[in-house]
Symmetry: C2
C-alpha cells in the first residue's frame, strides 16, 4: 500500500491482512476462513479485548449465529461483520479505556 | 488501551476512535454521525483508498442505501458495515497493492 496512507486506511489494511493470514490453504475453499481457524484467530489476535470485556461468550454466540450461508466457512464480509459485532457493544468501553490509558501515559511522562 | 495489544486490536481501536471523532456534537443525536460528516470522513480518512480503486461511486451508493432506520444518522454498527462494504469488494486489491509495496520496499533496501 502506498505511503501517505491515513491512520484509518492503515487500520483497514491490518484488518484485510489479518483475514488473509487465516484464510484456508485448501484450494477448494478460496478466500474463506474455517470456523475453527476463526476461533483460533479470536484467541490470538483479539485476546486482550475479549478478556478485558468479558465478551468471550458473546463472541462464541456470534460465531455460531453467523456463517449466513451455512457453508461452515467465513467470507471476508462475514469476518468483517463478526469483528464489528464484537466491537460494537464495547466501542464505548474501548474508547474509555483508551482515554484512561492515554491519561496514564501523560501522567507518567509528566512525573518522569 | 493497555500495552501489549495485538496489531489487530490496535486497528480496531483506530476504527473506534475514528468513529467518535466524527460523532455529532448535538446532544439530541448521541453517538451517531450525520450523513454529511460521514461523507467528509470518507474524503479525509479513506481518500487514498477510494481514489486508488475508483471506488468512490460505490461508496456514495452505499451511503445512500445504508442508514437502515432512516433517521439520517449513522450509528457505530452502520459505520462499521459501511466501511466493510467499501473494503470487501477491494480486499483482494488492497492485499495485492500491499504486497507490491512491500516488494518495492525490500528492493529499495537491497539496492541501498
Amino acid at each position: 500500500m502506498a505511503d501517505g496512507y491515513t491512520e484509518l486506511e492503515k487500520a483497514v489494511v491490518v484488518l484485510v491482512e489479518n483475514f488473509y493470514k487465516y484464510v484456508s490453504k485448501h484450494s477448494l475453499v478460496k478466500n474463506k476462513i474455517s470456523k475453527g481457524s476463526f476461533r483460533k484467530m479470536l484467541q490470538k489476535e483479539l485476546n486482550h479485548m475479549l478478556t478485558d470485556t468479558g465478551n468471550r461468550k458473546a463472541a462464541d454466540k456470534l460465531i455460531q449465529s453467523l456463517d449466513a450461508n451455512h457453508d461452515g466457512r467465513i467470507s471476508f464480509d462475514e469476518y468483517w461483520t463478526l469483528i464489528g459485532g464484537i466491537t460494537g457493544p464495547i466501542a464505548g468501553l474501548i474508547r474509555q479505556q483508551d482515554r484512561q490509558s492515554l491519561i496514564r501515559q501523560q501522567d507518567q511522562q509528566n512525573s518522569s
